[in-house]
């Protein structure tokens, strides 16, 4: 398909890998923040095309994986509320909270549905005015505009049986929190191309200059990823720490103004607890006061049971890039995608699932 195939050309990827080998003189550690990129890097074996001096760390870039158990438990409590239909993306239904998963709730008789878009949840609300349809909204800045448009369309059409349980998260505060950690090892970042398609790259400039790290906006295909890695390494070798856009066919200057306007209208920044990272100030999006009637928390006040006790899962360290999945004793034995012990194995984009799928032989 156009705009995909030409960025998957193996010969071009090999040439870029050659250019990277020619540029690197010292060891460097780069983190990609997006789970889609983690998946693509492993799937195409890009990590194995890089010289030994280059270490890739995988960051907390899977929104399903970073969603705190407490919010999942709120969703399960909502799903158990009479009259409520709870909708979310497929992966979200399988992630365990303290009280099991949403699929478990469905098996016990709750009305839980998988949708592809928040607009599908809105359509369900319009088709079933007798039900209260709640969309469990997860995702970064890429996905939040889709939630926002669903709320704006509900408002315009006077749909009053539709609401959001927002678990939306924002990338820049998480990058800043990782870089501020005293034992931070990350020297350069690949910024997530589709998050920046919505938001642009301006918010990364203060982070790049404060922490003196290059941040390169990068796409998802092998050629895109290798170009982003090359640009990041060139900056590191030259001692520069700038924001650079290597995904310009999608990321336009300033990002998508209409999507940002919808986000500003419907949501306000809020503190959010990230699995493995704790609470980060202003790192989430909750409904703005003017849209409180579309907020499932305001509408139903779901009970939040105590957070899950820590099991053997190391996903907190995996999400911060401190450990690789293969060092977890449960990896591929007690913990598999069929019987996941942690969120990073449940979600297709979680680092544990990506290693299980593409690196089991090497593990």
């Amino acid at each position: 398909m156009k705009y995909l195939d030409e960025y998957r050309d193996p010969a071009a990827a090999r040439r870029l890998a050659g250019a990277i080998r020619a540029r690197v003189t010292r060891p460097w550690t780069i983190m990609e923040i997006c789970g889609g990129q983690t998946h693509s890097l492993l799937r195409h074996g890009i990590d194995q095309m890089l010289p030994e001096q280059v270490t890739l760390l995988h960051g907390p870039g899977c929104p399903v994986c970073v969603t705190d158990a407490e919010i999942i438990d709120q969703a399960i409590a909502l799903a158990a509320t009479p009259g409520v239909t709870l909708c979310s993306f497929g992966d979200m239904l399988r992630v365990p909270g303290a009280a099991g998963s949403l699929l478990g709730a469905k098996a016990r008789g709750a009305d839980v549905r998988m949708v592809y878009s928040p607009l599908d949840a809105l359509a369900l609300a319009r088709a079933h005015p007798e039900r209260e349809v709640v969309f469990f909204a997860v995702g970064f800045e890429t996905t939040a505009p889709a939630s926002a448009i669903a709320v704006l369309q509900a408002e315009a059409a006077g749909v009053d049986n539709f609401s959001l349980l927002s678990a939306h998260v924002l990338v820049p505060p998480a990058i800043a929190a990782l870089l501020a950690a005293p034992d931070n090892a990350v020297q350069g970042f690949l910024a997530a191309g589709h998050v920046c398609t919505v938001m642009g790259d301006d918010e990364y400039r203060p982070i790049a200059s404060r922490f003196q790290v290059p941040i390169v906006v990068t796409g998802f295909e092998p050629v895109d990823l290798l170009q982003g890695i090359l640009a990041c390494l060139v900056q590191l070798e030259e001692g520069r720490a700038e924001v650079e856009n290597r995904y310009a066919r999608s990321v336009h200057p300033g990002g998508n103004a209409a999507a940002q306007a919808a986000l500003r209208r419907v949501f306000v920044p809020a503190p959010r607890t990230w699995r493995g990272m704790g609470e980060i100030a202003a790192s989430g999006l909750d409904l703005a006061p003017a849209y409180a009637r579309f907020d499932a928390r305001t509408r139903f006040r779901p009970a939040a049971p105590k957070a899950a006790p820590a099991g053997p899962c190391l996903s907190g360290d995996i999400l911060r890039g401190r450990l690789r999945p293969t060092v977890c004793p449960a990896f591929g034995t007690a913990c598999t995608p069929e019987h996941p012990l942690g969120a990073t194995m449940v979600s297709a984009e979680g680092a544990c699932a990506a290693y299980y799928r593409y690196r089991r032989a090497a593990a």
Binding site: G18, T142, Q153, A156, A192, N256, A258, A259, E349
Partner: protein, 78 residues
């Protein structure tokens, strides 16, 4: 999760800013996609679609520039 796929706009339906949609072709599959965030999209454009919503019009010039740069790299490496 942040997967977004480029597809070609084959038809635009409606003129309300908020509810306008397009039929978008992804290879052989056609889907209905919300257009609220890409007011400039025209039939024939490629849009990047995430969760049923178009989030960008693919910039053909920038796409060509990236590929041209790659060609230069090939000559350097050769």
């Amino acid at each position: 999760m942040c997967l977004a796929v480029p597809g070609q706009v084959v038809a635009i339906l409606g003129d309300d800013e908020l509810t306008r949609v397009a039929r978008v072709a992804f290879g052989g599959i056609v889907k209905v996609v919300a257009l609220a965030f890409v007011p400039a999209a025209r039939v024939g454009d490629y849009v990047l679609v995430h969760a049923g919503v178009a989030i960008a019009v693919v910039n053909a010039e920038e796409a060509a520039r990236t590929l041209a740069e790659l060609a230069t790299l090939a000559e350097d490496a050769a």
